[in-house]
Structure formats: C-alpha cells, structure tokens
Chain length 135, copies 4
C-alpha cells in the first residue's frame, strides 16, 4: 500500500452560503492528493500525460461527515491499496489537521487511456515504481 | 416519482487540459438539476433555507461514461424516486442534448438540518408538495 | 457595435459564506457572454480554436456594484465596441434580470495567438463576420 | 508597506482546454494571498468577519503576462501599500516560483461593511495592527 499526506487550506472561494466548503471542491482536493502522490513517487502526473497516458475519471464517491470551514488546514490522505490493472483505484480521507477529525472519505477510479482515448495498460515504468510497495 | 429536466451549456472554464469538462463540475450540474426541481415544485431551495431547513450533502457518487465538451448542451435529468424520510436521495443522469447519449449518472443523499446543524424531519410543507407524486 | 444578451442563473456552488456569488465567478459569466456572442455570430469559439486561433486573456477588470444571489436570473450583456486589431476588447454588464439593476460591469482584452502561442492577426473570416456591424 | 508571500501549486482542475490555468482562478489566488497576509498579521479574516466587519470586493483588475501550468509552484506576492481608509486596496504579483518570472499582476479594492451591508470604517483594532508598518 502507498499512503501520502498532503496539506491544504480551505479557500474563501470554496465556501458556500451555508458557511462550509462546497462539496464539489472535495473532488479537487482528492485530485491534489493524488497529484502529490505521483510527484512523491517521482513520476508526476504531468509527465505521465506527456508520455501519452491519461487517467480520466470513471467513477467517484464521497461520504461527508463534518463540514470543512474557511481557513482551516486540511490533511488529504491518499491511498493506493491495490496494484493498478485495467483501472487504478485510489482512496482518500480528508482530516481536519488541528484535531485529526475525519471530515470526509471517498474514492476515485481511473482508466488508463492514450491520447486518442483508447484504453491502454498501465506502463511498465509506472508499474515498476508502484509494485515494490506491495511486496 | 418526480422527474425534471434542466439544460445547461458546458462553460470554457469548466474544461481542463485533457479538453473535457472537469469531473468536479458534474456535482455543480447535479445541484443545478435539483435547484430546478425545487423551483418547479413551487418551493425553491432558497425559500426552504430561509424557512430554516438546510440540505447538506452526506453522500454522493458518480459514474462517468463519455466526456462532456466545451459549448455542448447538456440535459440534467433529476429524479426523486422515494418519499424523503430522515434523508432525501436524488438520482441524476447527464445527457448530451444533441443525441441523448448518457454522459454520466450519479446520486446525492442529503440530510435535513436546522440552522444549528441539528437533524430535523422534512417539513409538512415539503412532504405535502412531494407526496402526491407518489400516489 | 455588436451587443448580445445571455441569461444564466446563479448556482448554489457560486455563492460564498457572505451569501453572495463569489467575485471570481463573474469572469466565468463574462466568458459565457462572449461564447454566446460568438455562437450567435455563427462562428463559435470552439470552431475558431479548431481552426488554430486562440484568444488568451491578457487583461480584465470588473466593478462590483450590487451582490448577485443564489437562484437569481442574471443577464450578461456583452459588447464588441471596436473592430478587433492586434487584440480584441469586450465589455460586459451583469444585470439582475428581474429589475434590470446593474450588478457589475467589466471588460476583457484578448490576444489572437496560434497554437504555439505566437501572436497572429484576426483571421479574414472573423473580420468578415464582424466588420459589417461597424458600418 | 506590508508585503507577504504565499506559495501554492496549480491544480489540475484549474487548467482549461488551452492547457493553462484558467484566468478566473487568479482571483482565488489573490484571495489566498490576502487571507495569508491577514493570518500573518495575527488578525485572520475569519475573525474580522466574526467580529462583524466584512470586506466585499468592489473592484478588481488583472494583467496576464505568461501562462501558469498544471503542477507549477506559484508565489503570490500580496502588498498593502496604503493605510486603509473608506476602502482597502491590495496589489498582487503572481510569480512562477522556479524562476521568479512574473506571470500576472493585479489588484483588489474592498469596502468595509457590517453584516447588514452598511459601509463602516476600518476598526481601531485593524488600524492598530496595520499602521505601524507605515511609519
């Protein structure tokens, strides 16, 4: 399993009139989490994309437990729990950094496709980076 | 069952560098769909909020089938399939208006809470509007 | 001069915790206005882009007079007041549709560039469409 | 003069189909910059708001010089150049952290209002914090 933690602060623009961060922004935060994981693995997603492999989202889901508020520091915990095959699945937890309370948890599933949108296998390069974490 | 249809056009700002609408915006579109349903039922969500009942999201999920592209007209189909109890669940389909292809489908589940965040029951007013559709 | 009007409704996701639409969304609305103008001129911006001419923003400005609120219908008035030369400038007014009150006004200036980011002249096709309005 | 620097990373969701960060997000980044300034001054904007003073935007402007790209680190330089009076004006520069190139610069002007939207003077508390920087 690979686990990374990324910290971000709730932006004013991310709040809505209830006074909490809008639920759609959590998907951006998940994305920040997995971008950070890729960067830490030494294979930034931008590089993978330049090399011709894209990871469009095919499914997502999220449970919201407690609201996130303006200016709070959040910790995005991103986990790769299984070796990617035809798809790659990631799990996320959003914690309030101050007290480690779980605000939300969710997941994303992505396909591997080439620039013409055709399904491809995960590259050997990527698997070579990821597989050692599962031994 | 209550079904409503709402049309919107993909904004340039909603695209990302793959060239498709970003997946987080689908949650905004679901929200446009349910706002429109409430408006058509004669009980706009803004009025419900003023009357002291909020509908924070507790869970969402979405499957993405085909990309939505800049300037395309989309139809958001919103469905209330069950009479709301402690929570209200809505289902959505996002169709490309031009050819009725299904681009995505998803759901949201909301709690009923008062302004202090306490769980409340759906109001008689709201149930009085909704229940006739289920007879 | 070319003037077009485009109507949209303030989304819940566009509000912030003050209870008004967030100021950054006005730039999206300006964009909706100019996309609509291009569509009405019979030359959608997506087509211009496919033909190799992009219009990146080089400058923008906005005055905010009155807040826009959730679910309100807004009218985006977009004006092309001068024939485009090296750049194209557009002016916008955001009105509350219900009472025509001016909520904000602003402008955008765009360069014409090709896909490698090089400055180009506006195409004959585009000028051929636009110039008759200035006679 | 007060100058603060805040670093952030361009999110994938912030890009558009040209492949650059969308211009509307720069206004969010300015907001991140001024939120950070307030926090560093020991008077977070959230606290000011709780104490009953809001800072709605009345004007903004931005020049875009070079594109910001996915995953790049940016430095938001925020400057308060004059003691606030009826309004407060802030200036911003957005630099690419890697080479300090100026990507954009802009400004925001905000009113001081109370919770009913009435114009108020900047509080003594706020001026007491800010004025020493101008001596």
């Amino acid at each position: 399993m690979i686990t990374t933690r990324y910290e971000l602060r709730v932006r004013y623009a991310e709040t809505d009139q209830i006074g909490f961060a809008h639920h759609s922004r959590y998907l951006e935060w998940f994305e920040c989490g997995r971008s950070d994981m890729m960067r830490r693995l030494g294979y930034p997603y931008g590089v993978m994309e330049e090399e011709g492999v894209l990871l469009p989202l095919v499914e997502t889901g999220c449970h919201y437990h407690l609201p996130a508020k303006y200016d709070e520091l959040l910790t995005i915990v991103t986990e790769l729990r299984r070796i990617p095959r035809a798809t790659i699945g990631l799990d996320y937890q959003i914690l309030r950094s101050a007290d480690k309370k779980l605000l939300a948890d969710g997941f994303t599933v992505h396909a591997f496709v080439n620039k013409s949108g055709r399904a491809v296998k995960p590259s050997k390069k990527f698997l070579g980076i990821v597989e050692p974490y599962f031994k």
